[in-house]
Amino acid sequence: MIEIYICDDEDAIRQQIQTALERKILAENYDMKVVCSAASAQKLLDAAKDGRQGIYFLDVDLKDREWDGFRLGQQLRRRDPYGTLVYITGYGELAWRTFQYHLEAFDYIVKEPERVGPSAARCLEEINMRLLEQRRNPVQTLTLRTGEVVRHIPLDSILFFETASAAHHVLLHTQGGRIDFLGSLNELEEQLGEGFIRTHRAYLVAADKIEAVDLKHNKLWAGGRECLLSRSGKAKLRRKAEGNQ
């Protein structure tokens, strides 16, 4: 069962959302339940101690000195990295992109009397569809953290890892980008296991992404980008190729 949490300090709004969600769950027979409807951030955090892939409806503008919607979202993300965050906002002044990139917030609904309930129900429908889709095609991901930002990178989009010139920095090359993070190739090699080959002291390459190998000049290519190949890397490649035959 998926747990739903609501946090808003306006009682009327909170009530409306809760009623709408419960009706939707009943009507569609979702495997979900509103387990907490809190007026303050602290109450929500107490209730959501070990939230696992929960759904959270949070007010952006909490009248609380310590917590605002963003900080509360960050705290919840730390506890529940795969949860779904939906924000409730009073006006169009929401810095939505910041919420999207930093908290992977799913959507927001606007606090308008009459409309807030239906919007919440529609939002729940979309969340349900996404969760079903995820269950049908589970995507294996690698979780990285840069500063406060947490990223979930699908394993099949990873081309290779490369040590950066700055100490302890690793560059992750994906199909559509390059991400810099703090880490070590040794740990990644251990963590990722089989599908990745350490072709060089400074390179860890996804085996199925290798496009071309130039044994003469000690190079190989993945996703159009050049990687280095060492002598022991060549031996590993050869072993891998023989294993596949």
């Binding site: 992109r97 840069t146 302890h168 390059r178 290519w221």
Partner: protein, 444 residues
Amino acid sequence: MLTFQYYLLGFLDTVAGHFMLVSYLLAVTDEQAVWSRLKKLPPLSLSPVIAFLLSLGLSAVLEVGILRYFIMSFVTLVMCSLWVTWAWRWDIWRAFSAVCMAGILQVAATALVQVLFLMFPSGLKLDAAAMAAALLFSAASAAMLKRLHFGTWFRLLLEDQANLRRTAALIFALEISMETFLILQNGVRGQYLAAYYSLAVVLVLLMIGLIVYLAHRFDDSRLLQAQRDIIIQQQIYEQSLEDIRREIRSFRHDYKNLLAGLPLQTQEGAQDVLCATLPELDADFDRHLGEKIRLSVQIGNLRIPQIRSLLLCKLTDMGNKGVECRLEVLYPVERISINVWDFVRCLGVLTDNAIEAAQDVQQPWVEIVLLAQGGSVFLRVANPYTNVIDPGKLWENGWSTKGPGRGLGLSGYRHILEGYPNATVCTSWENHVFVQELTLEDRT
């Protein structure tokens, strides 16, 4: 046999001199990534070899010691400058200034070691012991200068692009006078030598003071300039506040009319009309004012004058070019964990590139998200693009989404950040949106 020893000692002396120069160079340039810089050291080993061979050649031709000394010093300075140009990827004048400054400090170190030897006479043979002592002393004092952040000030002075040549000439003149000073010791009587060397050290300290003073002056004038810029930009910003005020006044008028008619309409039972007008008015308010108010709140959160000035300038630029700007600054930006000017330069490069690339699209937009939390700052600049991205070339110098040769700024951007281990840089392109992210963590 004696001559061989003499030459060997001469060669070692040259090598030691270079070692001292490099350690002071690292201090003067305020180098953070010392090891990666030292990896580029091997080509510099050519310099002492060339210098030594040259000195052999010169001693055969020239009799006058002083002239020989000057030629040698100058050649060494030039060779080291060339190395710095290559290793730091600086332009030649900056490199030359840095090497001259390191040279001045080296003179001070030599003089100080001489003073120590004169004050505490030991049985050691002066040449070899002095050399070892000078090496140790130079490494220690270079570390100390680094701790005192002399390099930060010196780099600041070199950032004054307009006066760079003048600065280089000044430091070169100081270097020549110090070298001359050291040569003139030959004419000083024994009992005055200690005082003479002490004087040399004092002179170098004064020069350090002068450099710091000049850097201070430059920094102040630059801040003043930024504030002047802000005042100009502020006028544009105030204009938009004035617009907001005017619109609010007209809305007040509309609302008053509406509220005045309310009792009458409810009496007449004309609720349908009311229900239709209210949302319309609301939407109207959002359309006319919502965006402007939002933007003014975001700009208000930029509390660092240099950053505010730059972004206001870029916003105006985007306005003129018809590029829609989406700016989000959720929390006040008050502190930044790298040099503010370095950050401003990075921000400038990223926004300039984004504006340029976005203009290829029908409805151009640029999105800037700046999030400050604690001492950490996160920057994200996104723009649409139309060109094809070749990931193999993306990180080469001079490449951009506009095609080769246009993205010269990006290599400068990377170069600035190389010096900061707390900076992480991410790039991505998906669905024809190009994104650059920069995270600066506060590790203090």
